[in-house]
Symmetry: C2
Subunit: 502 residues, 2 copies
């Protein structure tokens, strides 16, 4: 054959191959379009995810797989120092590592933190705001009752309403399936910070921001309002982003408004409880700069025949390492896991060291008060303990931060360590002045010992909780089911109750 | 035209274009080959770089550009705490940030550390080993005198030999131009560590390992030997890699052999002086995992017409950011520099905090000794101070570590901070026991104050140094020139002497 004939032949082959490919893509698109065009009758604010699942079985069934993330990890048992740092706050009673989204409502209800209302006057110690990240019933009730009413009152006020675990309605528009912010504080936070105004968010931004509805730092801003002439106080979930997204920026914000979540029972420090500032930490990371969103790694695309969809079994990217981390990280899986091991080790070393110093500092401060130290003497100590506790908590509570943004995380722990030890150094001089220079803080090496120091009556708390769960809470679910609000399928296959206090 | 004609026409165009390209590549290769085939008469161990420059003018002239890196940055002035940490060691007298390779011999000779020998009995306090990273005369003299003889005696023993700054002969085979390890301790270190045996190194490994001849952690291993029946001690440069490359591994090695560089004058701590473990830190980094070598970023390729060569103006990749960092980092230059600024800030915060704690700890320990603290009481304090000082020094002395390997660097500073503050906490109890619970360490906020605390007679040291440089050192260079060893071109255009003590 002449050269031109060879070229013509090869070009013809390519054209045939492209033809086949085009047919395949068209079929794929056709099936996708058919799915997208399915008419749905999902109601506005439909909080029963199984109703959505009728139209989106792949997304729904993968969502339901979050049930498999069912290990209950008692963090207070693993880190008894946390009981000391959070002394006087509900977290000192009960704090477990998060399980799958499927368990959000359950774990919030069974936690000792939410208390044991009895329906006869005894209320939960926590405000309604504590439901805000737990259930798709939140936007439904907010829309019905108004935002300020929603944020007013105690947790048990909405016992018959907040019955379904985090689900479809938390992130999606029921008609268009578009990602949507169902919690108004996110848009307010973005606008207050100003870098990315809510009006300008892209689809890729949304693939992180729907997660940021919960995976952020927030506080309850006490807000006075009036209803029928009566003055009320709403505890409004608010993102402290006005000065920026960093750990220092948020501290500045809290300092300026004189905010504290509670006072540590030992040191009397006006404390900040960090929530789980994953989004903010992520913004400092190489992952963010690479253009990734939360969903890219935590909800990777799955291909089933002609259909591509996002895996709604939100969990660790390490469980799907082939389609998540190793898309970009070019190590072998074993090399990559070894590298992660080293990152985790670095983080744990600093976290453990900081936690130990901060907890010891709070206990030594208690001794200084006991011996008669003055407010003036203690002020710089409490300032250090506030800074140290905030930083330790910020880095520790931000799940996966050692992986998302290792540099920011290591730096934050190091600063926690610095302030914690600085407090202890100041305390040594005070303890010496008041005659106890060699004071050794009491042993808090187990959860039991630490909780005994705080004075938590674990047996009583547990018994009351059990009574609540077996009684009032069952009634709440029954009422909700009667009202057509509760989705029994949301608890299908849950198995026996799992708690850290049974 | 019919489709097949169009395809034929396009293919013909492509073939013509490829033809031109092939001719261009051939011409390029031909010029490169002509350069490579140039017969040279560079002698073995030729330490005068200008002799090499006759055949490799591009490499030589870019090497000579290291002259432009001429800013003298007095680190003790910037960080007076270093004077306290290094008290009793030569570094407390004089320590500047490194200038270009062109200045290696000069800056070693003008440093107060190397002392002021007078040729009439007064010797340098430092051993010959202190030349090892400064001059291509080192391999020449090692080959002539033998390695153990080279490492025996004081610095001034080789005043007439070590006259040229780091140059061609330090890294290249004079016949083949191949990269070569001219310092035998690197191969010994690699073999002792075992991961990468010296026999197995690749060309890419060598593009880092020739740098690792100096940019590593090392110590002087006292080695007995006998010459003509006389027992001598050689101070052999040795890489402490037997247990691994990490900061913890090397500390373990030093601890096991009971090694210390000196005892801190205040705290009496048996100290480790970290050198500049750039190579070891680099091994922990993403940059290393990405397959990079030192030369890829510090000696990027330059294209001049048909010739491609490696830029020998070794310096910061940030000076050539377009052909270094931004090859991989896809940010804009301004975004990238902003990111680096944040990395530097994180590092500086932890480095400064650790340095302050460690220095204060050494001074407080001096007070404890003064008050009568016992060896037994002080042992845990000194252990903490040794660990803290080693880690701070390791991370601080490893130039660019915050950039090469930020996670390892932040972690190392954090551990320095932890041990430094732990020492201070223990010291508070001891100071209280001996009646001075509120002891405040003296002010070391300026270099002058810090050096006064150490008791350095700066005026006398400076005067003696000046006399040495204007006298004996000038004679050394003249003798070396007479002997055909010294390359006057190596100091061409140096300009007036720059030191931190004038």
């Amino acid at each position: 054959m002449r050269t031109s004939h060879v070229v013509t032949f090869l070009a013809a082959c390519a054209i045939v191959a492209m033809g086949f490919l085009t047919v395949s893509v068209r079929e794929n698109k056709a099936e996708q379009a058919a799915i997208a065009a399915t008419p749905t009758d999902i109601k506005p604010f439909e909080s029963r995810s199984s109703e959505w699942g009728k139209y989106y079985p792949r997304e729904y069934s993968t969502y339901m797989q979050t049930k498999q993330s069912d290990t209950l990890q008692d963090m207070l048992k693993e880190h008894p120092a946390e009981v000391i740092i959070w002394a006087g706050y509900a977290f000192a009673k009960d704090y477990n590592a998060p399980r799958g989204h499927y368990y959000m409502q359950e774990d919030n209800s069974t936690s000792l933190r939410t208390g044991s209302p009895d329906g006869a006057g005894k209320q939960s110690p926590l405000p309604t705001a504590c439901w805000t990240c737990k259930s798709p019933d939140v936007p439904r009730v907010m829309a019905r009752d108004g935002e300020l009413e929603y944020y007013t009152g105690k947790w048990d006020k909405y016992g018959t309403e907040m019955v379904n675990p985090l689900g479809c309605a938390d992130c999606h528009n029921p008609k268009t399936m578009e990602l949507t912010l169902t919690r108004p504080y996110v848009a307010r936070g973005l606008d207050a910070e100003g870098t990315l105004k809510a009006a300008n968010v892209t689809h890729q931004d949304m693939r992180s921001l729907v997660c940021a509805q919960c995976h952020v730092e927030y506080y309850f801003h006490a807000t006075k309002w009036t209803k029928d002439g009566e003055e009320k106080t709403a505890m409004v979930v608010t993102l402290p982003w006005n000065k920026g997204y960093s750990v220092d920026d948020m501290e500045k914000y809290y300092d300026e408004i004189g905010f504290f979540d509670w006072k540590n029972k030992f040191s009397r420090t006006p404390m900040l409880k960090a929530q789980h500032p994953e989004y903010e930490t992520f913004l400092t990371s190489d992952h963010y700069r690479a253009g990734l969103s939360c969903a890219d790694c935590h909800m990777p695309y799955v291909r089933e025949g002609a259909v591509k969809y996002s895996n709604h079994n939100v969990g660790s990217p390490l469980d799907n390492i082939g389609v998540t981390c190793l898309n970009c990280h070019k190590e072998s899986e074993s090399e990559f896991r070894k590298l992660l091991g080293r990152k985790l080790q670095r983080k744990n070393e600093l976290s453990d060291a900081a936690m130990e110093q901060v907890a010891t500092g709070h206990l030594e401060a208690a001794r200084a008060w006991e011996l008669g130290a003055t407010e003036e003497e203690m002020a710089p100590v409490l300032s250090d303990l506030r800074k140290a506790s905030w930083r330790w908590d910020y880095a520790a509570a931000s799940h996966g931060a050692f992986f998302h943004a290792p540099e920011e995380t290591l730096h934050t722990f190091a600063r926690a360590l610095e302030f914690g030890q600085a407090a202890r150094l100041k305390l040594r001089a005070i303890l010496a002045k008041y005659g106890d220079p060699d004071y050794v803080a009491p042993d808090f090496s187990t959860k039991e010992k630490a909780q005994a120091l705080v004075g938590i009556d674990y047996a009583a708390e547990s018994a009351a909780k059990k009574a609540f769960l077996d009684g009032l809470r069952e009634e709440w679910l029954k009422t909700a089911e009667k009202n057509g609000v509760y989705d029994p399928k949301s608890r299908e296959g849950m198995g026996p109750r799992k708690t850290s206090w049974q």
